[in-house]
């Protein structure tokens, strides 16, 4: 059964139509990758799902409940979490605090100003566990802004999964990483998204074909194909529309 | 003077740090509390210079008072703020000073008045005496009067009484326009002008009664437009400072040629700024002779002050009056205790340098002396203001007896 459904989603900025009538089903538990040339509208699609942008038309439903034009925090509370193309953390707070903030809502703390965080053994234990999981345990007390790039990406992933969401959306999680860093990142992603649903935008084809169960190809705001990696590889339209281009680059 | 300021300050704060208020010293110490920094500095420091000069010229150089004790003036800067006044007052207390000179802003005077009566009630034996040389809010010697407060300036209603008489005499004036700052003094001026004019010249029409926010008006022309279109024959305003200057300026610029009756349109830069434009248009009501000054003694005194402070004028002679009467009271009581001084000051009759008699009414501690209306001009000006060549020439004077008004004061002198 599908966890996230996009029906004829359109997004216009003034005249220009960025997303044209996109319909897509994300199956529960699958790892779904969205690929496509720059400016195809991949990030826009993410922004639409996570509620940063409002839909121009169409509908998005999560667990068969429409989340179209809901506020980002409402959507996040429903169990959709995301990372960003450019690192997006809380730079002046410590790594530990970053993760703990990620945990707060789904640990039912809400806007409480009567709980003392220091006293929440359980919460802090969870935080430390998660820190270890993303390999930042020894950096807990450093201001997040001072971390190395790869570590910041890891931290962001950590914040994203901290919310315990079922649907995790990662926007180019390994962009700008060295090969080895990227490998670790992928390993990490596999580990932390175990038993969850993953939607990722990525340029590195090896990673995409390695990680994804299904791939959607987005070109000029339209999904021209959505299938298993093998099928996508052999898909003629994708070939000329996209992979060809990549091959040319390489 | 500055030398004293800074030495004092240094020693005082030293005293503070050693937490030992310096008490029981030889000199008779008098606190002067007024704005000595910020926008109103010039008025405050000019007052300080006059008090300092009076003390040195009249007493210290003559061997002091009470058998050789010098008078020492200790300045306190209240930035013309009621809050800061509270702080400075406590500083005065902790310095063991018992007499405070204060003049500027009725708001400050009222705060000080209530603070002092509170303090004196709670600390018997350490009372403080308030010498108010300039704050003209009537309530200080009426509903809010206090045994510990003495006023050496005529209050607003007394002045308005004379001013309205003067206007009433002028047959050409058929209508007046009242404009003032939107606060207590402005209100007092407006209310009483209307009341008094109704009594004295019912035929005079009040064509305008305008309040504008204090110190917030960029441009008075819009107000002047209303004045013009109301065909007023005269304008009355209680404005002071920049609001006074801007208002007068706008009236003059609009080509409107009618008399402007004011309280504070002279000295401290205002006379210079008005210059020739204001000539024979602007009139002041004040409680002390202007040019021509009556006595030789008085003239010499002003000259001596001018020599000592070329950049300042003897703007508030009442400061000198106050100090002289204070000292007389001390000598009479042979004491510097506020209680004895207060008793001695009550109903004191004192002839000052200008050869006129001053009366401190015991009932409400309000001074009475001749009141004058002077014009801003450069003719027959022996002593000008702001070294501008322009100054005040007295046109109309009222003897002390005719300035007396009733008071609602019910004073309860403290038991001793």
């Amino acid at each position: 059964m599908s966890i996230l459904t996009l029906k004829n989603v359109c997004k216009r900025f003034g005249e220009t139509e960025i997303i044209r009538d996109v319909s897509l089903d994300i199956e529960k538990g699958e790892r779904h990758a969205i690929i496509g040339p720059n400016g195809a509208g991949k990030s826009t699609l993410f922004h639409l799902i996570s509620g940063k942008y409002a839909l121009s038309s169409g509908d998005i439903s999560f667990h068969d409940q429409s989340i179209a034009n809901k506020k980002p925090y409402e959507i996040a509370r429903l169990g959709i979490t995301r990372s960003f193309q450019v690192t997006n953390i809380f730079p002046r707070m410590t790594v530990f605090e970053n993760i703990r903030c990620g945990l707060l809502w789904n640990q039912k703390y809400g806007y409480s100003f009567w709980h003392l965080l220091g006293r929440q053994q359980d919460l802090n234990a969870k935080t430390h566990a998660l820190l270890e999981e993303i390999g930042l345990g020894h950096r807990a007390e450093i201001p997040a802004g001072e971390l190395a790039y790869a570590q910041q990406r890891a931290l962001e992933l950590g914040i994203a999964i901290a919310s315990g969401a079922e649907l995790i959306m990662l926007d180019e999680p390994v962009a700008g990483m060295s090969h080895s860093e990227a490998e670790n990142a992928v390993a990490l992603i596999r580990k932390v998204t175990e038993g969850k649903t993953l939607v990722m935008v990525e340029h590195d084809m090896n990673i995409v074909f390695d990680v994804a169960d299904r791939i959607s190809v987005l070109v000029y705001g339209e999904i021209i194909a959505c299938d298993t990696p093998q099928a996508i590889r052999s898909n003629a339209r994708v070939q000329e529309a996209y992979l060809g281009e990549v091959a040319a680059d390489a | 003077m500055k030398t004293i300021t800074i030495l004092q300050a240094a020693s005082l704060s030293l005293a503070l740090l050693l937490s030992q208020a310096s008490q029981g010293q030889e000199p008779v110490r008098i606190a002067f509390m007024d704005p000595l920094s910020g926008a109103f500095t010039s008025i405050g420091s000019s007052g300080l210079k006059q008090l300092q000069f009076a003390a040195d010229y009249l007493f210290n150089s003559q061997g002091g008072i009470l058998g050789g004790r010098p008078i020492e003036i200790v300045p306190y800067d209240n930035q013309q703020s009621p809050t800061e006044t509270q702080i400075q007052f406590r500083r005065i207390v902790s310095d063991g000073i018992r007499i405070v000179f204060q003049g500027n802003s009725s708001a400050v005077a009222n705060t000080l008045n209530s603070t002092i009566s509170r303090h004196n009630r709670r600390n018997p034996g350490q009372e403080i005496l308030q010498i108010n040389y300039s704050a003209v809010d009537p309530i200080l010697t009426n509903d809010q009067c206090s045994f510990w407060h003495f006023r050496f300036d005529a209050h607003a209603i007394m002045k308005l009484n004379v001013l309205t008489d003067f206007i009433a005499m002028n047959e050409d004036i058929k209508s007046v326009y009242i404009i003032g700052q939107d606060y207590s003094f402005g209100q007092v001026v407006s209310d009483n002008t209307i009341r008094l004019l109704k009594e004295k010249r019912p035929d005079i029409e009040i064509v305008g009664n305008e309040f504008h926010p204090i110190g917030q008006v960029k441009d008075f022309t819009p107000y002047v437009t209303k004045i013009v279109s109301s065909d007023a024959d005269a304008v009355i305003t209680g404005n002071f400072g920049a609001d006074m200057v801007s208002l007068a300026r706008s009236i003059i610029d609009s080509g409107l040629d009618i008399p402007i009756y004011t309280f504070y349109a002279a000295y401290d830069g205002i006379t210079a700024t008005l210059g020739a434009d204001g000539k024979n248009r602007i009139r002041l009501i004040h409680n002390d002779p202007a040019n021509p000054y009556p006595t030789v003694e008085r003239r010499d005194y002003i000259r001596a002050f001018k020599n000592a402070n070329p950049d300042n004028d003897m703007t508030q002679f009442r400061i000198t009056n106050a100090l002289q009467m204070l000292v007389t009271a001390m000598e009479e009581a042979q004491s510097t205790d506020p209680y004895d001084i207060a008793l001695a000051l009550e109903d004191m009759r004192f002839t000052n340098m200008s050869g006129e008699e001053l009366w401190m009414r015991g009932e409400d501690h309000q001074i009475f002396q001749s009141l004058h209306i002077s014009v801003h001009t450069d003719e027959n000006i022996e002593f000008d203001a702001d070294n501008s060549g322009f100054g005040l020439f007295a046109e109309y004077s009222v003897p002390m007896e005719d300035t007396i008004v009733e008071t609602s004061c019910r004073m309860r002198p403290p038991r001793r």
């Binding site: - | 910020g38 926008a39 109103f40 500095t41 010039s42 939107d182 305008e210 309040f211 504008h212 926010p213 110190g215 917030q216 008006v217 960029k218 441009d219 022309t221 819009p222 107000y223 437009t225 209303k226 013009v228 279109s229 400072g241 920049a242 200057v245 801007s246 300026r249 610029d253 609009s254 080509g255 409107l256 401290d268 830069g269 205002i270 210079a272 700024t273 210059g275």
Partner: protein, 316 residues
């Protein structure tokens, strides 16, 4: 009544245009660097004071020429050596810095020129009534003020639309980031714009000084109002600033001219309240009384209902 209306309009025009001279500079600076310059009105004050000191030797016209240049130079230096330092600490730091600068300039003015009002006069050549209406004079100097302001507005408009630098600035206003990538020396442009902006404030000071009296408080009186205008007009919109300036100028002028107040309103509603009513102050409120706070009411309303301002596109 008619004459009151006409003169109210003229006065509103004078104030409005004067405000625009400040607002235009402030808007330029904000559009370019995203800095709301709290000290802008202080530069206006400096303009008046420099002009006063110069006029003592070279007369009014000397002041009109040199004072703005000095102020502009000062502004440029402030941008180059101080503001740029703070820039890296973010906008809050910048705002706070200009706030402190305003504070400092006021104190400095009192230090150098003293706290008294200065006798800064308009030139004798313009010391005649331009025209007399219903027995009320409209001084030539005020006409001159209108003239200068309009001239500056037109000049600025041409500079921005015609000249090359103008085009760059325009671009910077709409796309602040791209301009740098186009290989323009952005720091220099910043310095220039800040200089010009403050110089404009200087001009305003020079021509306003004689009418609005030159005293240390003159910056405070105008400062926040100019802020309000820029925000109401829409951050980064010159036209918006222009409209807002005139709007506020006229609004205040009409409010003062009118004698309307709560009593009239109550009479209209047929209500009656005694002087001793606890809310008596409210019932006796009059339009002239609240004229000076109108801009702030407007500000709050605009910000609540249209945070981008009248013509603004960008939000902070």
């Amino acid at each position: 009544m008619l004459e009151v209306f006409i003169f109210a309009t003229l006065n509103g025009l004078v104030t409005g245009l004067l405000l625009f001279m400040l607002a235009s500079g402030l808007t330029l600076i904000f559009s370019m660097m995203g800095v709301l310059n709290f000290a802008h009105a202080s530069f206006y004050m400096l303009g008046a004071y420099f002009a006063y000191s110069i006029s003592l030797y070279l007369g009014f016209w000397g002041g009109l020429i040199f004072a703005p240049l000095i102020v502009g130079a000062l502004g440029a230096l402030v941008e180059r050596y101080l503001l740029r330092r703070v820039h890296e600490h973010g906008h809050v730091a910048e705002l706070v810095f200009t706030f402190g600068l305003a504070f400092l300039i006021e104190e400095a003015v009192q230090f150098f020129w003293g706290p008294d009002t200065k006798n800064y006069r308009s030139p004798d050549i313009l010391d005649f009534p331009l025209f007399t209406l219903f027995g009320q004079e409209f001084s030539a100097y005020r006409g001159f003020m209108i003239g200068i302001s309009v001239a500056i507005f037109i000049g600025l408009y041409h500079l921005l639309t015609r000249s090359r630098i103008g085009i760059i600035i325009q671009a910077a206003i709409t796309h602040p980031h791209t301009v740098a990538n186009l290989g323009h020396n952005v720091p220099l442009i910043f310095m220039g714009v800040f200089g010009v902006g403050t110089a404009l404030a200087g001009v305003a000071g020079v021509i306003a000084g004689p009418v609005l009296t030159t005293f240390p408080g003159m910056a405070v009186v105008l400062g926040s109002i100019v802020f309000v205008i820029v925000v109401i007009g829409g951050l980064g919109s010159l036209t918006g600033a222009f409209i807002a300036s005139l709007l506020i100028g006229l609004l205040q002028s009409y409010a003062i001219a009118s004698d309307l107040g709560m009593p009239d309103l109550l009479n209209l509603l047929g209500l009656e309240f005694g002087r001793d009513h606890p809310l008596t102050d409210l019932w006796t409120l009059s339009l002239p009384q609240i004229a000076p706070i109108m801009p702030f009411m407007l500000l709050v309303l605009v910000l609540i209902f249209r945070p981008t301002g009248l013509l603004g596109k960008r939000e902070q």
